[in-house]
């Protein structure tokens, strides 16, 4: 459960989120909104990438400000552009990076990397340089290197925006099949239709909140 308690986010002179309070507990939650509505900022608050200017964010009762390590173990974050998320030059090195940060013993890191290489279809590419992967493979590696850390909740920031049709479908299927809970920021309404809950942001506030069949039509209307 993630609780956002009267969070206000200010960058310099700009108020990006104003007094947002909401509890997130559903298995599939979507966040929609126009550019600059505050939805990406909201996503970055959920695992402590940003700390709120006012208010607090609690993940299973732990504050993102005080227990950032424990929070990041529970909440993984997948960025829009896989290129900006792959840290290491080789596929297997990148998979191991997060696990090493968790200070797992070397044997466990190796075992989990092996398992992930097989599970996400990257086994053939283990010593492949990351920059030579195809777009879909890069996206898969970015996902795998977050999932290998076994977070309970995964936040996706516009996971399909930069992808072609085929890779879009692959990611959509992937999110659908995910065991973990997912919070997905997206413009891609098709991706969100079978979600449990949709939050719509506008000018730093949540303006719509509910099941997709009620929220999405009203959201489209609002967007004109």
């Amino acid at each position: 459960m993630i609780e956002i308690r009267s969070v206000t986010q200010i960058f310099g002179e700009r108020t990006v989120l104003s007094d947002v309070s909401v509890s997130l507990d559903e298995r599939r939650i979507a966040i929609v909104g126009s550019n600059g509505s505050g939805k990406s900022t909201f996503a970055r608050l959920l695992n402590g990438l940003l700390l709120p200017s006012r208010g607090e964010v609690l993940v299973d009762g732990m504050s993102t400000a005080k227990d950032s390590k424990a929070v990041r173990r529970r909440v993984g974050f997948v960025f829009q552009n896989p290129d900006n998320q792959i840290v290491f030059p080789l596929v297997e090195e990148d998979l191991a990076f997060g696990l090493k940060n968790l200070k797992l013993p070397a044997e466990e890191v190796r075992a989990r990397v092996e398992a992930a290489l097989v599970q996400y279809g990257l086994a053939e590419l283990r010593t492949h340089p990351a920059h030579l992967l195809s777009g879909g493979q890069k996206q898969m590696l970015a996902l795998a290197s977050v999932l290998v850390m076994a977070p309970e909740i995964i936040v996706f920031d516009e996971p399909t925006t930069a992808l072609d049709h085929r890779n879009k479908r692959m990611i959509a299927d992937f999110i659908r099949g995910l065991k973990q809970r997912a919070i997905v920021v997206s413009h891609d309404l098709d991706l969100l239709r079978d979600f449990d809950r949709v939050l719509a942001f506008e000018a730093g506030r949540i303006v719509l909140d509910g099941a997709p069949e009620t929220v999405l039509p009203r959201y489209l209307e609002m967007m004109g």
Binding site: R44, N47, L49, K69, R72, R73, G76, F77, F79, N81, D83, N84, Q85, I86, V87, F88, P89, L90, E93, F97, G98, N101, L102, K103, L104, P105, T127, P129, A130, H131, S145, V146, M149
Partner: protein, 222 residues
Amino acid sequence: MSVGVYVHADSVVHRLSPGIKLAALFGFSTLIVLVRDVVALAVALGLVLMLFPLARLPLSLAWRQWRPILVVMAILAAVQLFYSDWVGAVSVVLRLSALVLLAALVSLTTKASDMIEAISRAVRPLAYLGISPTRIGLVISLALRFIPLIAEQLEEVKEAQRARGLERNVLALTIPLMVRVLKMATEIGDAIEARSFDPDDARRLSDLWRRRSEQPSERNDH
């Protein structure tokens, strides 16, 4: 651009610990600068060349590493020929070739991540000065990761400027490229933190010790 210089093969040289390889390279380069005897230098170069088959790497790879220094070496050899004699000129060529090929062999047989881990271990005693091995390791691999990304971004910017007929304008290429890669670096910085990287890790020796004693309990709750 040959950044991923590592070439995979199953050999003794590949398996050798990177720390030993780096120490050997350092020792060898110090020695070879001191050696003046041309026969000894030829033997040294011969030994280095023999390491390539031992590492199960084709000699063509050695040639590819050697080629870029040809011009510099020729100039230096010519200067030697002018100031001293042909023995001096040959010595310069032998010495530089041996040095460059051994250094290249270390890079060819050692994964960047292993190399970095070796350096991190070597600087560990400096941790109490605020120099953290974890950070050094990260920053080195990030640089290696960024090089092909910058090349890709440059191609994209070139394409965009070609449409406007500006692909030869240095500023029209550099400025957008710069802003793009800075944004990219900012986001990668965030992505690293999202994957539980702790930039303050191992800042002091005392922290290192404390963390070590905490580790078992941290493993259990996982």
